[in-house]
C-alpha cells in the first residue's frame, strides 16, 4: 500500500484539536410533522470546525430506554435523510437514530454548497485544506453529540455509512459497532483508474485536467486511506463489500480486513438491496439484542 504518512497521527490530532476548540452549541427543535406515537423527531443544529453550523435529524423512541443507537454518518449525496430510504419507519421505535449532513449537504449548505459530482476533489491538492478534513470532523462531532443523549445505551452504538463510518469510529471513542461500505477512500487513486463510474471518476477528471497535481493528490489521499485507520478501530465491524468482480469486492478489501484490529464480518453483496439490506438489519439487531426484528423490517421484507 501507499506509505502511511509519517505525520498521520498528528494530522488527525490537529484536526480533532481544531474541532475541540469549537463548542457544539446544539439546538434541538422538535419536528411534529415527522414525529409519531413511537418516536419524536428533532432537527439539530450543531457547530463543527470552521466554525461551521451543521444540521441533523435526531429521532428518540417513546419510552424510558436506554435505547441502542444508530448514527448515520454523512453520505456522499446532497440530500440528508431522516433514515435511509427504504428503512421501515418503525426502526425509530427501537433505536435512537441520528443522521447528519456534513458541510455542503442540504440543510448544511450555507455558506458552502457542495456539488455532486465535485465534492470528492474539492481542494484535494492540499491535504491541509482538503474539504474532507472538515467533513470527517463534522462526522466526529455528530457522534460526540449523539453520545451525550441520556436515553442512549452506550454499550450499543452503531455507526453506519461509507468510509466515514469507519474513520469516525476510529478517531473518537463511543462506537461499539460499525457497518461500513467503502466507496471513497480505499486505494482511491489505484481503483479510480479502473473505473469510469462516479464518484471515483471525479479523481480521474481532476487528474486529467491537472496532471501536475498527481503527487499532491496522492499525498492528500494517503491521510484518508482506510488501511491507515484500520489498526485503530476497536468496534465490532460489518464490512459491506461489493459483489464479486466489482471494485470493492471481498477480495479487493482483504488488505483492509487484515489491517483491522476489530472483530470483522465481511458481507459480499448479492446485488440485491433486499438481501444485502436484510443482512445488515439482521446483523445490527443481533448485535444490539433486538429480539423482534420482524416488526421493524419493511413490509416487503417480512416473513
Amino acid at each position: 500500500m501507499n506509505q502511511v504518512p509519517l505525520n498521520f497521527r498528528e494530522y488527525w490530532q490537529e484536526t480533532l484539536a481544531s474541532l475541540a476548540r469549537y463548542p457544539a452549541c446544539p439546538e434541538l427543535e422538535p419536528i411534529p410533522l415527522r414525529s409519531t406515537a413511537f418516536a419524536t423527531l428533532y432537527g439539530v443544529r450543531v457547530t463543527s470546525v470552521g466554525p461551521y453550523r451543521l444540521f441533523g435529524y435526531l429521532s428518540i423512541p417513546a419510552g424510558t430506554g436506554p435505547f441502542p443507537a444508530i448514527y448515520y454518518s454523512p453520505k456522499y449525496q446532497s440530500v440528508l435523510e431522516i433514515i435511509p430510504q427504504g428503512t421501515a419507519n418503525l426502526i425509530r421505535s427501537r433505536y435512537i437514530t441520528f443522521s447528519l449532513a456534513g458541510r455542503g449537504q442540504r440543510n448544511a449548505d450555507t455558506p458552502y454548497a457542495a456539488m455532486f459530482p465535485g465534492l470528492l476533489t474539492e481542494r484535494i491538492g492540499d491535504a491541509a485544506a482538503y474539504i474532507f478534513r472538515g467533513i470527517v470532523a463534522d462526522s466526529v462531532r455528530g457522534l460526540e453529540l449523539l453520545l451525550t443523549r441520556r436515553e442512549l445505551d452506550p454499550t450499543r452504538v452503531v455507526v453506519v455509512g461509507n468510509d466515514l463510518a469507519l474513520m469516525t469510529s476510529t478517531l473518537t471513542s463511543g462506537a461499539t459497532h460499525v457497518v461500513a461500505a467503502p466507496a471513497l477512500f480505499y486505494k482511491t487513486a489505484e481503483l479510480a483508474i479502473r473505473t469510469h463510474a462516479y464518484p471515483l471518476e471525479e479523481v480521474n477528471d481532476y487528474l486529467r485536467t491537472f496532471p501536475a497535481r498527481a503527487e499532491a493528490v496522492r499525498r492528500t489521499l494517503a491521510y484518508y486511506d482506510l488501511r491507515a485507520f484500520a489498526p485503530g478501530l476497536t468496534a465490532t465491524t460489518l464490512l459491506m463489500a461489493g459483489a464479486p468482480g466489482t471494485l470493492f469486492d471481498a477480495q479487493a478489501l482483504k488488505p483492509l480486513v487484515n489491517a483491522l484490529s476489530a472483530e470483522v464480518t465481511v458481507h459480499e453483496s448479492e446485488q440485491s438491496l433486499y438481501r444485502d439490506g436484510l443482512y445488515a438489519e439482521q446483523w445490527m439487531a443481533t448485535q444490539c439484542g433486538i429480539s423482534d426484528l420482524q416488526r421493524i423490517l419493511p413490509e416487503h421484507w417480512r416473513d
Binding site: 428503512t87 440543510n107 459530482p117 485536467t209 446485488q271 440485491s272
Partner: protein, 310 residues
C-alpha cells in the same frame, strides 16, 4: 420468505374526469415559455471519448432547469438520444455511460434538485407533499413539465435525431419515464424501473418507508385533508398516465421492493396502453429491481429500437 405479491393487484386510484383537460392546460402554459436552451462546455468532465456540457433550459413558471448533456466525441452527424431521469434523492448523474454506448445523453435535474433549486427548493423530505392539497401548485406539476421539456431540449439540438429518442430511469426516474412517455409522443422507447409516483394512495398503506412515508406524516398531522390529498394525487399518478403510452416500453420491478411496492408496479403495467410492453419482475430483489440482471435487457431494448434504426 416474504409474502407473494398479487400480479393482478387493483389500485384504488381513479382518473379524474378533467385529467386530460388539466394537463392540456398545463402544457399550454408551458408552451408559452421560451425554451432558452443553453449548453456550456465542461472541460473538467470531458474526456477523450465523451464531451460533457452543462445544459440549461427554461420550464414552467420560468424556472431554469439544469442538466448534464453528453455526446460521443467521435460520432455520426445525427445520433439517437437517451434522456435519463433521476431518483427522488439522487443527484442527477453525468450520463457518460450512455454516450459511450453511442447515444446523445441528457440527464435532467428537475426543479428542486441540486443546480435547479434557485427558484424552487422545497427540500428533501418535503418535495412529495409540497402544496399537496392544490393540484395547480403541487410540486410535481412543474417537476413533471421540467422532464417533458427535456424532450424539447433534445429536439433543439442539431446532433439529435428527433425520431430516435428514448427515456430511462428507475424509482422516481421510473415514474417520470412513465409520465414522459405518456405525454411526449416523440419518445420512441422507454425503460422504467421500480416506478415511483404510481399508486400513491396504495403505496402509503403497503409500505411505511420514506419517501412515501412523507404522505403518511402529512396525513397524521392533517387527517382532515385526506380527500384533498387523494384528489390532488390522482392528477399526478403514473397509473392515470399509463394508457396514453404508445411507444415500446420495458419495465422491471423487485418483488421485495421496500420503497416502491411491487403491487403498484403490477397495477401500472396492467394499465399501460402500448401493445409492445414487457414486464420483468425480479424475485429476491428490492428497490434495485434486479438491476444487475436487467441492465443488459435495457441496453438491448434501446439498441434494437434506437441504434438500429439508422
Amino acid at each position: 420468505m416474504p409474502k407473494t405479491v398479487p400480479a393482478d393487484y387493483q389500485s384504488r386510484v381513479r382518473k379524474p374526469h378533467d385529467f386530460d383537460a388539466f394537463w392540456d392546460d398545463v402544457l399550454r402554459q408551458a408552451a408559452a415559455v421560451p425554451l432558452e436552451a443553453e449548453v456550456v462546455p465542461d472541460p473538467l468532465r470531458t474526456s477523450d471519448d465523451v464531451e460533457v456540457f452543462e445544459a440549461f433550459y427554461t420550464s414552467l413558471d420560468h424556472v431554469r432547469v439544469a442538466s448534464w448533456y453528453c455526446r460521443p466525441a467521435r460520432r455520426a452527424e445525427r445520433l439517437p438520444a437517451i434522456m435519463f431521469l433521476p431518483g427522488y434523492q439522487m443527484d442527477p448523474p453525468i450520463p457518460k455511460e450512455w454516450a459511450r454506448k453511442g447515444y446523445i445523453a441528457l440527464s435532467v435535474a428537475p426543479r428542486g434538485k441540486l443546480r435547479s433549486n434557485r427558484h424552487f427548493n422545497p427540500g428533501y423530505p418535503n418535495l412529495l407533499t409540497y402544496n399537496i392539497v392544490d393540484r395547480h401548485t403541487y410540486a410535481y406539476r412543474g417537476f413533471y413539465v421540467d422532464t417533458w421539456r427535456g424532450v424539447d431540449f433534445l429536439l433543439s439540438r442539431p446532433e439529435v435525431d428527433g425520431a430516435r429518442i428514448g427515456v430511462v430511469g428507475s424509482s422516481q426516474g421510473g415514474g417520470l419515464t412513465i409520465t414522459t412517455a405518456a405525454m411526449r409522443p416523440e419518445v420512441r422507447a422507454a425503460a422504467a424501473g421500480a416506478p415511483y409516483l404510481c399508486g400513491f394512495m396504495d403505496a402509503i398503506e403497503l409500505t411505511h418507508t420514506y419517501p412515501y412515508e412523507e404522505i403518511n406524516d402529512y396525513l397524521r398531522l392533517h387527517p382532515e385533508r385526506l380527500a384533498e390529498v387523494e384528489n390532488t394525487l390522482a392528477y399526478f399518478d403514473g397509473i392515470n398516465f399509463a394508457e396514453r403510452i404508445a411507444c415500446p416500453i420495458v419495465m422491471n420491478i423487485g418483488l421485495q421492493d421496500n420503497v416502491c411496492p411491487p403491487e403498484t408496479g403490477y397495477a401500472l403495467f396492467n394499465r399501460i396502453g402500448a401493445s409492445d410492453k414487457q414486464l420483468n419482475p425480479y424475485d429476491g430483489h428490492g428497490h434495485d429491481a434486479g438491476r444487475s440482471r436487467h441492465g443488459a435487457i435495457v441496453d438491448r431494448f434501446f439498441a434494437e429500437r434506437l441504434l438500429s434504426e439508422r
